[in-house]
Amino acid sequence: MITILDTLTILAVSAGTLFFIAGTVGLLRFPDVLTRLHALTKVDNLGLGLVVLGLLPHASGLLGALKLVSVWLLALISGAIVTQLIARAIR
């Protein structure tokens, strides 16, 4: 039996996967470093964010949910900063 929460999981994780695929295609197909970085940030931010959002209803309690969210936040901050550093290095 599929509940509303399960539906949310399926929808969010699928949407997240879509961003991962789109980001990977962008990484492979875009012409220069800046546009490739642009594609990659969507994977970090939205792709991982949606996957985490989808997994939240299945986390083991509040602590598990908090762990998932902090994984996303750490990926966000390191992704954003590393992207900036690479972009500056090639300028």
Partner: protein, 313 residues
């Protein structure tokens, strides 16, 4: 075919493909970057094999610190790479034949396994409760094979001495030139101010939980080392001169503590590196904390490289 099975096959294929790509890659720098990716994939494979301790070590050391060491080595060798020529044909042929021999030897071992695989795992698990530890890996590292672990830490110190000895005489006791990696960079400074609090808490947790869960001094120490490298690279903290006495005490503190606990075993327990009954776990935790600090300092200085300028107080 179930989904986990398909995932495992996919990971294995990807590992072989990335390994092959690493060998044919043009240029050392590219090969090193592929090596880092390979290490991360390897960590996923170890998780799938339920070897979380190995996975953590692989991700932190195999891929992280080793990757950084190889990157700085590749950067140093960049000038020589252009002029270097391919080794002569006989040498290439010989290395190819030797590699093929090793691969086929391994293939024979894998394809024709012994009827009963030799293992000490049941014995290790049976004796684990006596140590008071919950993590069998920590039990093996600090109780059953403690001598190996002790010597491993000494080898790390020897490796650091090897790196330091690359410095010319006039720079001995100088400062590793880490902050000259990048010009002052406000984003890196911001990162170096935001991340270390989380990193240090994580390192403490990893070291502490190592007694009963996957983790331990080596992984925790690596996280400490990386946090230290980050603040040194961003210029938030200055790299210490290698002649600094406090630094040298920090480097040897873990191994010395371990050795002292080991020697105390002669008087208080069955012998060298034996723990008195009932005190095994607290002693191991204390040793692990000391080791995590020393490993953090050693790995950080290893990656920072030999001193490259004189210390200006």
């Amino acid at each position: 075919m179930t989904i986990p099975f398909a995932f495992d096959i996919g990971t294995a294929m990807l590992l072989i493909a990335v390994g092959g790509w690493m060998m044919v890659a043009q240029g050392t720098m590219v090969a090193v970057i592929i090596f880092v990716v390979y290490g991360l994939l390897m960590a996923i494979a170890w998780v799938r094999l339920s070897a979380v301790d190995v996975a953590l070590t692989e991700a932190a050391i195999g891929s992280g610190i080793t990757g950084m060491l190889l990157l700085s080595a590749a950067a140093r060798l960049r000038q020589t790479e252009v002029t270097s020529t391919l080794p002569s044909f006989p040498i290439r042929l010989l290395s190819g034949v030797l590699c093929a021999a090793i691969t086929s030897g391994l293939a024979v071992v894998v394809l024709l396994p012994a009827d009963v695989a030799p293992t000490l795992a049941p014995m290790a698990m049976a004796n684990l409760p006596e140590t008071g530890l919950g993590n069998p890996v920590a039990g093996v590292l600090f109780a059953f094979r403690a001598l190996d672990t002790l010597l491993e830490k000494v080898v790390l110190l020897l490796a650091l001495l090897g790196v330091w000895s690359l410095a010319p005489d006039r720079l001995w006791g100088g400062v590793p030139a880490l902050d000259s990696y990048a010009p002052p960079n406000d984003i890196l400074v911001f990162f170096a101010q935001v991340l270390p609090p989380f990193g240090i808490v994580f390192a403490i947790y990893m070291t502490w939980t190592g007694a009963s869960n996957p983790g331990g001094a080596f992984q925790g120490g690596t996280v400490l080392a990386v946090m230290w490298l980050l603040v040194m690279m961003a210029g938030v903290v200055r790299a210490p001169p290698i002649s600094c006495l406090r630094l040298r005490w920090l480097l040897v503190a873990g191994p010395v503590l371990f050795l002292m606990v080991g020697l105390a075993g002669f008087a208080l327990a069955a012998g060298f590196l034996a723990y008195p009954a009932g005190y095994a776990k607290p002693l191991i935790v204390v040793v692990e904390i000391g080791l995590a600090l020393s490993i953090g300092a050693t790995l950080g200085l290893l990656a920072a490289g030999p001193p490259e300028r004189n210390h200006q107080p």
